[in-house]
Symmetry: C4
Subunit: 250 residues, 4 copies
């Protein structure tokens, strides 16, 4: 399992003053995101790089659900933008996602740890990144509905099928709430991990409301705003008034 240790998310265990172990795991995982992997692709927040070099201003505010055997957290990952060649605007470069994290609720002393500048290992932390459309599935799930998503990173190559993750959301038999399960099937290592977190109706309502709020943001649509930041004047006279109805421009 050494290769896991080298690459796994490491955290700092803070054993003072925290009610729930998972809370430390949750926050410190987020801390680690930044310190270990600078400029990481799927960050938990939008990355602000100042052209002059310095500050990064990231937000770590995941919604966490802790249950007996496992825990999960949910937070948005905003898209990145790049300038158009013409220099006239920005387009979405990498789409945003809703990031789900799963980890087992192992006792404190059973965590493997390697104290290396405030870091310890947490085994078996798994991520699942919901696209906008998969988030749409979650938002529109009825109280009796299920959904399932399959991710394979080598989908378009010869390695397809070697590692596969699937996320399923299934309703409780007695109504009210869901089981959210993540399976990771690794055909190379012959391992199969599975996390299941039961989520109450109230907790799922939070996830649904939060996802509905975040969806336009991960799509980049909060940039479509009538509230100018730069105070530019409205100059509709500059609009070529002969191009009135581009819906018909043929």
């Amino acid at each position: 399992m050494d290769h896991f240790r080298r690459k796994l998310w490491t955290i700092r265990m803070d054993l003072s003053g925290r009610n729930l172990l998972g809370d430390a795991v949750c926050c410190r995982v987020s801390s680690f995101n930044h310190s270990r992997i600078s400029g990481a692709g799927y960050s938990t927040a939008r990355q602000n790089f100042n052209a002059a070099g310095g500050t990064i201003n990231r937000i770590f505010a995941p919604y966490c659900v802790y249950k007996g055997k496992a825990a999960l957290s949910l937070s948005p990952v905003l898209p990145t933008f790049s300038k158009l060649e013409s220099g006239a605007g920005l387009k979405v470069d990498r789409h945003g996602v809703m990031m789900l994290r799963f980890w087992p609720a192992i006792g404190e002393r059973k965590y493997d740890w390697e104290k290396r500048q405030n870091s310890v290992f947490v085994a078996f932390l798994q991520l699942f990144a919901l696209s906008a459309t998969e988030t749409g599935s979650l938002i529109s799930l009825g109280s009796k509905d299920s959904c399932e998503f399959f991710h394979d990173p080598s989908m378009l190559s010869s390695n397809a099928g070697q590692v596969r993750k699937s996320l399923s959301i299934k309703p409780h038999a007695d109504g009210g709430g869901y089981f959210i399960s993540l399976s990771v099937n690794n055909n190379i290592l012959k391992t199969n991990e599975r996390f299941t977190v039961p989520v109450t109706a109230a907790e799922f309502a939070v996830m649904k409301t939060a996802c509905s709020f975040a969806l336009p943001h991960i799509m980049g649509w909060d940039r479509y705003t009538n509230n100018q930041r730069h105070g530019a004047e409205e100059s509709p006279s500059k609009v070529d008034k002969q191009i009135l109805d581009l819906e018909w421009d043929k």
Copy 2:
């Protein structure tokens, strides 16, 4: 009841120009929040502390429902953030809540008051702070559903069970609207207070819409925005392009 008086929220009675007594109570309670308890934990608004020392800019805009025997108000309490050790971002420190306040509709002259720098006592003002998940319950309540929450401040100590609060939301028998009740059971003082405020379907629709709006804010998710405040340039080239898919980083 002296110990109540020392610790209770005190308000300034403004008897001029207000249509409803509760309105004065509502606003002045909010005023008091600030003047009596500086930097109080659960404020009715977000606290802005300027590093250089000075201004506080709090908002008092509760949604109030006044009925024959009691009144309630609802307002969001935003989370507080703290810097990560690495200095690279902010994490949620204290989670936000939806604060419910209950008070009895006693006649003006029956209020005990002690004029001490514009303050008077109001007996029996009770608070109940809904977490994000409890707010999720409220938002997802169907027209025939109930929900109930129990709070015990000494939950994890030897004083557990001495003081307990419970909030229940139950539908009217004839459909349309709910009874929102707060009970405070104090085993030390042998007291039991109960407030019940009947809420119409329209009033509950306001509470539901307002809570859906506020929920991402009390979770801190309005910080996940693509609209930069500092005008930092987008520099996706700084992103380590080899770390393209952290969903699979093992």
Copy 3:
């Protein structure tokens, strides 16, 4: 009808380039709002008064529905705030509303007009201001539900009952859409005006979505934001950490 003319909203008729008469009525009514009644109470937009004296920056973007006999428009009127005596924050002074305007679809040449610095008269323009709770009724209206609101400006005085307005929203018999009617009963003038605008399901969906969006704004809750405008640092250390749980402060 002279007293109507003196007090009525006056508009400027712009007969060039507008497809629908009502459109001119709609926009120019809004123009008039500003020029005739400076600092008017129920404006169609939030009033920004610069402490140094000058600029007003109001928005006129009503949603208009034009039908055969009458038209209506809907727009939010934001609340006003005032400083607390302690100077530590702002409270809501006058609550916001959703303003409905009704006017008859009379032919252009039948409008009485008096050209006085770009103004003409429109008879019978009627307003109805929905409170937050009445807006909650509209938002939660099912496809078979009705609601009705009664306003009497002299409600608490000896003039009660002299002028009364009522707004009703009733579903179409054949499903899909509603009739929105405004009645104004004036016992002094012995007049009774009634406007009825049939609204399709799609138009009502716009009104419902727009009202759900606007409701937290007319309540002032968009001020509860984690996104600081002044760049103040987060200083949770200044929070009195002993006041951890004000829910229990007694």
Copy 4:
């Protein structure tokens, strides 16, 4: 088909590094929007013209759905505002829309292209601009409902009926998802184009949520905000307090 070529949207084919052909089409169409038609009426984003002349800051973040035979994209087009004659505020000049684009999924090599400063032709790209009310239809569509919209650019002239577009949204027979079809009937050229894109329930949930988010923005209602940009002080004392209730001003 030359007249098509002269007027059609042209794109730059970027054959490197894109997973889906449609992705290039989608983004580059957006690029073209800006470079070919400066100040175009229905842009994919709000146009910021700095009074001093220069920068344009447009956003291209369409939501794209790619299927076997055709693809569609959805993005908001914000309204334009103009100053009131009195100079006291802004009114909506041209209303915003939700822009739908359809194009066929033809193989890469079959695209006609004419490399002219990073531009190639795409045949048969069709637009359909949903008004606020038509967007209301889409948002309120039940799982078994259909809707259909007809656009004729020459509606009010003698050319009525020569070119007509219609958009229909029909549910799948087996529940879950819709067929979104655009038909363009050109009586002059005797052509009839038809695009049909099957959309899953999850994809439609994204469109519904995104449209609900965008609707107040295309109406201009995000300008009704209590959060001042210019830091103006609240001065309710300047409000003419005698004009307290304009709901009754007659």
